[in-house]
Symmetry: C2
Subunit: 324 residues, 2 copies
């Protein structure tokens, strides 16, 4: 079983409107509502890959109830902790005429020390029966910035490898606790290393390798950086690789990074070697872009991408070893 | 007790954002969530006026539960009928930098014949103990366009005066059933009479009187037309009046029409004469514009407006009688 932690999940509400009137009344022609947030997307993708998944985290209020109802029938087991505050919504307005999408992210609910402690007890219990844990997304108000460090330390105690997908202070603190893997995107890596990761509008591979190397020096055992349609760049003690897809994929990039995280966790528990794991992750990320909703992908898209992804070694340790 | 019918209530979610990025990610600095829809606003205003109020209508799903929870502590009694579909949301984005507001109204839930019938039974029961009924707002899918006509006929059977605030086909059908009062605004009156109610950007009083007179000829016993900050125009068998406020009020006009309806219902059950009733309604509408949320008003604003509103007779029957 893979444990996925979502401390700040969301109910994602999407309105599709043709030619939005930004100063007037609109009647969306389609409304989608589904559980969201990075952890939920990861759990959904893992489930689609056939993995057993348990979702732990914090939910509250009527929106939390809607979120939990929305997970019914997903095959995702839940070990959620209820809080007094209200789970946040995200609103996306898709202007189908102009092709723009505006997203409005509500702040998460305030979480008390006691509520976080109750979650922690549930989390430690769930660790006992899992092969890996994924820690994904932002922290709601009241949860300390170093919470991921505590959760990674508890996982280490239980000999469970932890995969961290976070940003800013949560990422910086988490790295120091020695996760098996961190998965920043270019913007997150740029923010945490305080320098640009792009040159002339393209990912700057040298800067990425250097900044990711610093995450390893700070404690992470490996780092996989997602480069949008430019693929993935992995810095590991076993070597460095780049996984490249054939080219840009038309679609919705929301959740593609979460699909990459899910595939990396899936590859880890299946003991795939790094090149195989990266091929799997890059293909799943690209297939998720092609699908309309985060956490979904078409099996045919995935198979085609899998055949097209190129994984090449980068300068660094030249021995390709099985990763345990 | 005043019975308020809301067949298509909504959960109103408002995000305040400074300088919205309509093609990117926004973090609202304030989020408000509250029960809404015209009937709910009317009920809230009536409650604020000290009236006993029962809210009847259709709610469903997690959003319906949130709406009902949001009414806790409001003092509004509920006799709601649960449906399988999900109560709609409205989503408003207030750009506090630019001063624009975009509103996104979800469609209402589909309502089955059996669900509507169940509501009707509840409605008939509630009629037995009420002094007036207010029928407000749009009809959800599945509810027949002439539903308000049936509800007005049932009210007449129970000798309960009905006040109708609807638009389009629902208004046209409802008028034929002989409500005690209809309260269209300029746009609604223009739509139902198929001609413009404005001339040179101002309400065209002659056109309004003629069109409102047609509503009386079609069955309504009286019509009060809301003219925005230009006040109210009343066409009744007892005479015609115009209530004028001192001038425009800065604020949020959402819900001002609902406040007018509430005041007219309140004046009706208190047997105020028409001029007094109209003064009350115009003042409450203006005070509601000055308040930040629909269905709220400041007591001081209301008192000031009440002193400022001018009610003048218009050509027509010149006898001012008490209205029974």
């Amino acid at each position: 079983m893979i444990l996925v932690v979502t401390l700040n999940p969301a109910l994602d509400v999407t309105h599709e409107v043709d030619q939005v009137n930004w100063a007037g009344v609109n009647r969306p022609h389609r409304v989608h509502v589904r559980p969201g947030g990075k952890g939920v997307n990861v759990a959904r993708t893992l489930r689609a890959l056939g993995a057993e998944v348990t979702l732990a985290g914090l939910v509250g209020g009527g929106v939390g109830r809607e979120l939990v109802t929305g997970l019914d029938g997903s095959g995702i087991s839940t070990a959620l902790t209820w809080v007094c505050g209200e789970t946040r919504r995200t609103f996306a307005v898709v202007d189908t005429g102009r092709g723009d999408t505006a997203v409005f992210n509500e702040p998460g609910p305030p979480v008390s020390v006691g509520e976080y402690r109750e979650f922690f007890v549930t989390y430690e219990k769930a660790l006992a029966s899992c092969a890996a844990v994924v820690l994904s997304g932002s922290l709601p108000p009241g949860v300390p910035a170093d919470a991921y460090a505590d959760l990674i330390a508890a996982a280490a105690q239980a000999s469970v490898p932890a995969i961290l997908d976070a940003s800013g202070a949560a990422l910086a603190h988490g790295v120091a606790a020695g996760p098996a893997l961190v998965k920043p995107n270019l913007a997150e890596l740029g923010e945490v290393s305080d320098q640009s990761m792009e040159r002339a509008g393209q990912p700057d591979a040298d800067a990425v390798v250097t900044a990711a190397g610093r995450l390893l020096a700070a404690g992470a055992r490996a780092a996989v950086v997602s480069l949008g349609w430019h693929g993935l760049l992995a810095i590991t003690p076993d070597g460095n690789w780049r996984a490249s897809q054939a080219g840009p994929v038309a679609g919705n990039p929301t959740g593609a990074g979460d699909a990459v995280v899910a595939a990396l966790a899936h590859g880890l528990v299946r003991r795939q070697d790094w090149p195989e794991r990266l091929r799997h992750a890059a293909a799943l990320g690209a297939a998720t872009v092609a699908a309309s909703a985060a956490g979904e992908f078409g099996a045919e898209d995935y198979r085609r991408q899998l055949a097209e992804v190129q994984v090449t070694g980068l300068p660094g340790p030249d021995v390709w070893r099985e990763d345990g």
